[in-house]
Every structure is written in structure tokens, then in C-alpha cells.
Symmetry: C2
Subunit: 247 residues, 2 copies
DNA sequence: CGACATGTTGAACCTCATCAACCGACGTGG
DNA sequence: CCACGTCGGTTGATGAGGTTCAACATGTCG
């Protein structure tokens, strides 16, 4: 089965939601949360599945419960760029926009908390706090996009890869409870494949792979298998992300 | 004199403002416009002047009346990327954000319609339409930033320069009353210098210059002096930019 | 185990950055 | 008025960083 869908209701309560206080729902009262709960349902997508497409109308908004979603844009001749990479507790959807210029695909297996269009938009109009929260999310996304513009336009391949790992490392500190301070270092999973990293960084898979081994050889990261990353000293990674690496 | 400042009041009325119905003010009633008018004043900046900096708190919002403003980010070792290029009737400022991670500089001589922080934010809270308008602006900026990510990450130098000219060409159709249909072609001024184009496109000035002459030789654009551009056939420029017209 | 996707490594090539010289426009001071 | 420096822009020569193409290695899942 590729896609599963289930109501939330008794099965799932926002109060127990893993991403509740980080997500857009964070600002809402219990009363409002109950309303939100009523219109929501869970849905799973397998890696590679299309979640939204610019070719068909978007019918829902969603909170990401687990997994990663990539938003992409593509040139006429097929070159692809990831313009947004969404992790829990990010929000998927464009309030106040009928069109959707992006293509959203599951970059890993994904669980979403789905809100159907009309019902959600009624809630947005009813609850200014929710609207405000969406606004702030959009501002965050804008800041992130502009950070990435600096990376895409001006950073070297080595800096790009380091920056991406740094992004994941920092993110893992926020989302998962941190396993300790700087002493232990940070460990996390690369939830996406090399090809996606390349599309996010404006590189090729080969270059990504080479830069990863360079970082490994330099001792800045340890790589277990292909997906498990450990960063002993965040500071070293941050240096590699910001300026030219000394060979 | 580097900076001039004057009240608006009798001198300047929103009703006569060149950018009024395109700007954020467009959604507002006469009554609301009067309130906005009361808190606004004009200010001019010469090319090269700093308008906002991440080093000092931002004290105002502004509509751009004329000229161009570049928002930039810079790496530790001085590489610069323009992450936003603002023309009339764009809006400058970050509602609901105390910090300002960008550096805003006049890319040409600029006229701004300034709204002091507190007064403007009171109006935003009082007039939901205004807040809504700001939200939509932010969504537009996000879309623009993501378009640019595709350009920065995946387009060739030739496509980048063509895309930029196309952007200006389309913009000139919206802002200035178009001088005619496709028959005549489009003519406009490059309001910024080559170095700024390079910083916007993630290139060097030399590459920008070379690609411009390539476009000139190919007959896709005519260049008069260094700043005056004429595009006989938009379609040809769009092809060179590597995108379909419809978008 | 076999098959297919994912990831790594090597070698040749090419686009674009770098360095340098030059041009024209402009403003300033002698 | 011209000499001079500065700034913006163009053009040329050269080389490095990253892509491309190809082969191989490692997973991963039936």
C-alpha cells in the first residue's frame, strides 16, 4: 500500500502530538485545538511519492509529523532545484494562494497531519492567532530561502556540503531532545539521499560525495554507513561551512 | 547634501502618489489612507548609501517611490549576494520582526515614503486589510526568492543574465505604462551597475559583461550606452533565459 | 542470492573565476 | 584648461573548481 489515510478523532489527539508546541498549532488554546482536531486526519506517503504538484489544485494544508518533504522547481530541460526542505514540525501549504508553483515530493517516508482546504481556511479567518502564526512561518521561510541564496550564489562546494550538514545538526538539536552538550558532539541521520542533497545545494551527486569524503578525511565528521553522521566538534563544521577549508 | 527629509502633509498626498494603487496602500480606504498619510514622510538616499543594516535597529518601514534598493548578505570573507532587489512599488521592512538579518543599500538614487515603526505597527494592528496585504507581499517575496534559487543553483551564466533582463523587462511593463505591445519591443533602463548584477546573479562583473555582449551580438538585445536596454522580441529573451513564457 | 537503486571514485573536459590591461566618463585641483 | 585619479565597464589570457561520462562498490529488498 502506498498511501494510508485515517481519521484522527479518538485515535489521535493533538495534546499528544509530537510536534504540537513547535508547529503552527502551538499558539492555540485547547478550545481551538479541538476544532483543529476535528478537521484533521493522518496520512502517510512513501519516499518518492508526489504530495502536491503545480499541475493539479492543492486540496489541503498539513503539518509534518515525521520524515522530510522537498519542494522543487525544475527548468524546461529538467534541471532541478530544491527550494525548500521541510522537516517536522514544519507546515506545508500556501494560505491565501490558489496557485502552487512548486512540486512537493516525499524525500523520505512521511507522516502528515492533514487539514482540508476549506475547513482550515475558515479556522484561519476565525482565529487571528493562527493567521499570525502562518505569517511568522512565512517570514521564517523567506529568511531561510535568502540564506540559501547566499549559499547557492557564493559558496564553494565544500562550504555548501558543510553548511547543509550544519543545518541538519542544528535542526536535530531543536527537534530531538539533545543528547548532551558540545562534549559528546552531535549525531543524526541524513534523512535524504545524495541526489536530493545535490539538488538542494546546486551541485551534482558526484561532487557531494567527494566533499563528504573530504569532510570525513579531515575528521570534521564521521560517517557510518551512508546515512549516519556524527559531528564531534560543531565549531569545526561551522568553520568549514563559512570559509575556505585549508587543505 | 546626502540625505533629505521632509514631511508629506500638504506637499504630498497619497492620492497623487505614483505607486499608490500598486503598493501596500492599494487596499486601503480614503479614511485609512489619511491616517497613513499623517505618519508618512519622504526621504531621499543617494546611490551607495546604507538604508538599513543588521548592525543597528530598524526604525521604519517604507514604500519605494523611485530608484532601486538591494538587500544583501555577505560571508565572513566578504563575498556578497543580493537576496532581494526592490523597485517601486515594493515595500521595505519586516513586520513582526525585531531583528533584521539583511543589509539594505541604495542601488541607485532612491526616494522612499517612510513610515516610522511604532505608528505603522499600530496601523497594521488596527487595519486587518493592511496586515493581509503585508502577508501577501511576503508570499510574493518568498516566491521570488525561490525562483531565484533555481536560477542561482541551476542556470548557466548566459541564462542568468537573460533571466535578469527578462525580469526588468516584465517589471517595466507593469510599472511604467507600456509604450506599446510586442510589436515595438520593450525598452528600459538598467538602474543598477554591473557589479550589482553580478552580486544578484552569483557571477563576476567580467562574466556579466561578456554575457551582455553575447546577447547583443546575438541580436536578442540592443544596448545603448551602458544602461539603456531594448528588447525587440521578448520571446527570444525568454528562450535565452531558459523558461517558458507562461510562468 | 540476485537485481536494482544508491553511492563512490577516476579521468577528461568545460564553464566561469581570476588576474591584468585598457577604455571612456567624470570630477577635482593645480 | 589640462593633468590626474577614480569609477564603471569591456576584453583577453590562464587556470581551477565542478560537471560529465564511465566504471565500480555498496546497500537494500524481494
Amino acid at each position: 500500500m502506498n498511501r494510508s489515510s485515517q481519521g484522527i478523532g479518538h485515535v489521535f489527539r493533538c495534546q499528544h502530538c509530537a510536534v504540537r508546541n513547535l508547529a503552527v498549532c502551538g499558539a492555540m488554546s485547547d478550545q481551538q485545538l479541538r476544532r483543529l482536531n476535528e478537521i484533521a486526519h493522518l496520512r502517510k506517503y512513501a519516499v518518492g511519492q508526489t504530495i502536491m504538484s503545480h499541475e493539479e489544485p492543492v486540496t489541503f494544508f498539513a503539518n509534518i509529523i515525521s520524515g522530510a518533504i522537498k519542494l522543487t522547481k525544475t527548468t524546461a530541460d529538467g534541471r532541478q532545484q530544491i527550494v525548500g526542505l521541510l522537516f517536522p514540525p514544519d507546515f506545508l501549504g500556501r494560505a491565501f494562494r490558489r496557485n502552487n508553483p512548486y512540486f512537493a515530493e516525499a524525500a523520505s517516508d512521511v507522516e502528515l497531519c492533514i487539514f482540508p482546504n476549506e475547513a482550515f481556511e475558515r479556522l484561519v479567518e476565525a482565529y487571528p492567532e493562527l493567521k499570525q502564526r502562518l505569517f511568522e512561518r512565512t517570514l521564517d521561510e523567506l529568511d531561510a530561502a535568502r540564506d540559501w541564496m547566499l549559499l547557492l550564489g557564493r559558496k564553494t562546494a565544500a562550504e555548501k556540503v558543510a553548511s547543509f550538514l550544519l543545518l541538519l545538526a542544528r535542526r536535530s538539536l531543536i527537534t530531538g531532545c539533545s543528547s548532551g552538550g558540545d562534549a559528546v558532539g552531535i549525531e543524526f541521520n541524513l534523512s535524504i539521499k545524495r541526489a536530493d542533497m545535490a539538488d538542494y545545494l546546486g551541485l551534482t551527486v558526484e561532487t557531494v560525495s567527494r566533499q563528504l569524503t573530504r569532510l570525513k578525511i579531515a575528521g570534521i565528521v564521521k560517517i557510518n554507513g551512508t546515512r549516519r553522521i556524527k559531528v564531534p566538534v560543531i565549531r569545526a563544521l561551522a568553520d568549514a561551512a563559512g570559509q575556505e577549508m585549508s587543505d
